[in-house]
C-alpha cells in the first residue's frame, strides 16, 4: 500500500461502543499507517478499551455512554491539542470501512487542501450508467442540497477526513447519531470546501446484527433500501 505524505500527520478518530469482537482488527489495520489512532471508548464496559490499547491505539475512555457524536467530538478535541496533526480521519469501529478508501481520502484531502472529504457509497464509477440510476442519483444530490446545503451523494457515511481548520471550527452539539447532519450543516454554514471519494461499506453479519440492537437499525435499513433502489447491492 502506498504511503502518502499526509498519512503521518493524520490522526484517526475511531468512536467505539462495545466493539470488543472486532476493534483489535480494525486498529491493527490503521496503526503504523497513520500518525496516531485514537479510539474513543464510549463507556463500553467490556474489553473494547483494553483491546484497542493492546493493538496500539491511544484510548480515551468516557466514564459513561454519551453517544457517537460526543465520542467524535472528544476525539476531535484531543486531535486539535496535538500540534503535529494536519488532518483528522473518522473511521468506524465495526469493520464496515476499508482502509484503502481511508488512505485515498487522506491523500485527496492533502493533495487538494479541501476542508472536508466525505466517503460515499454511491459514487458512480462503472460506465455506462443506466439512465434510471443516473436520475435517481441526481435526485438524491438535489435532496441533499436542499437538506444540508451540500451536493452529496451520501450524507450518512462515517468515513470522513477533516482539515485542521475544519476541526478548529467544529463543536458538535448533537451527542447522538444526528452528528452526521450537524457536520454537514456546519460545513455549509462555514463555507468549507469539500469533495467526495468512493467508500465501500461492508455490511457483515456482525455489523447488521449489531445495528438491529439499537435505533441505528433504522438507518441501516434505510441505507440498504436506498442501495436497492439505486440498484447496487452493498458489497
Amino acid at each position: 500500500m502506498p504511503h502518502h505524505p499526509f498519512m503521518a500527520t493524520t490522526c484517526v478518530v475511531v468512536p467505539a461502543y462495545r466493539e470488543a469482537a472486532v476493534i483489535a482488527g480494525v486498529v491493527a489495520t490503521l496503526v503504523g499507517r497513520f500518525g496516531e489512532v485514537v479510539v474513543v471508548d464510549d463507556g463500553s464496559r467490556d474489553a473494547t478499551g483494553d483491546l484497542a490499547a493492546a493493538a496500539g491505539a491511544t484510548v480515551l475512555r468516557h466514564p459513561v455512554n454519551l453517544g457517537q457524536g460526543a465520542a467524535l467530538q472528544t476525539g476531535f478535541e484531543y486531535a486539535a491539542q496535538q500540534p503535529w496533526v494536519t488532518h483528522v480521519l473518522t473511521f468506524d469501529a465495526d469493520g464496515q470501512h476499508h482502509v484503502d478508501d481511508a488512505v485515498a481520502a487522506v491523500e485527496l484531502a492533502g493533495r487538494t487542501g479541501v476542508d472536508l472529504v466525505l466517503g460515499s457509497r454511491f459514487l458512480e464509477e462503472s460506465d455506462p450508467v443506466p439512465a434510471l440510476r443516473r436520475i435517481v442519483l441526481r435526485a438524491g444530490v438535489v435532496f441533499s442540497r436542499w437538506t444540508t446545503g451540500l451536493e452529496l451523494t451520501d450524507t450518512h457515511n462515517g468515513l470522513r477526513v477533516l482539515s485542521r481548520r475544519a476541526i478548529a471550527s467544529l463543536r458538535l452539539r448533537h451527542h447522538g447519531m444526528a452528528h452526521a447532519s450537524e457536520i454537514l450543516e456546519v460545513a455549509g454554514r462555514e463555507g468549507w470546501s469539500y469533495r467526495e471519494v468512493p467508500a465501500r461499506v461492508h455490511y457483515s453479519d456482525y455489523s447488521v446484527a449489531k445495528g438491529q440492537s439499537s435505533l441505528n437499525a433504522v438507518n441501516v435499513l434505510l441505507d440498504l433500501a436506498v442501495d436497492r433502489i439505486r440498484g447496487r447491492a452493498a458489497a
Binding site: 484510548v59 480515551l60 475512555r61 468516557h62 466514564p63 459513561v64 454519551l66 460526543a70 452539539r173 451527542h175
Partner: protein
C-alpha cells in the same frame, strides 16, 4: 375574541421558547413575576369567584372555570418546554464534564508511563 388572540400569541411564544432564548436575568424575572401572579390570581379567584367570571366574560370566555383551564394549559406547555430545555442544558454540561474527565485521565496515564 380577545381570548383567541391571547391563546394564539401564547402558543407562538411557546414555540419560539422551544428553539430559542438564553437564560438571562430578564427571562428569570419574567418567569418569577408570572409565578407570583399565578399564585396571587389563584387566591383571588378562589376568594372572589364572581371576579373570575367577570374577567372571563371580558375576554370572551363563557365560564370562569374555562378560563382557569386555558391558563393551566398554557402554563403546562411552558413548564414542559422549560423542563426540556433544562434537561438539554444538563446533558450538555454532563457530556463536557465526562469529556474533560476522559482527557484528563489520559494525560495522567501518560505521565505515569513517563515516570515508570
Amino acid at each position: 375574541m380577545i381570548i383567541q388572540v391571547l391563546l394564539v400569541a401564547a402558543l407562538l411564544l411557546a414555540a419560539l421558547y422551544t428553539v430559542r432564548g438564553r437564560r438571562t436575568a430578564l427571562s428569570m424575572a419574567i418567569r418569577r413575576v408570572f409565578v407570583i401572579a399565578f399564585f396571587a390570581g389563584g387566591v383571588v379567584a378562589v376568594l372572589f369567584p364572581e371576579l373570575l367570571t367577570l374577567t372571563a366574560h371580558q375576554v370572551g370566555v363563557g365560564r370562569g372555570a374555562d378560563l382557569v383551564l386555558y391558563a393551566l394549559c398554557i402554563a403546562s406547555v411552558f413548564t414542559a418546554i422549560g423542563t426540556y430545555r433544562r434537561f438539554r442544558e444538563l446533558e450538555d454540561r454532563f457530556v463536557e464534564l465526562s469529556r474533560a474527565l476522559a482527557l484528563a485521565e489520559h494525560r495522567t496515564r501518560g505521565d505515569q508511563h513517563l515516570d515508570a
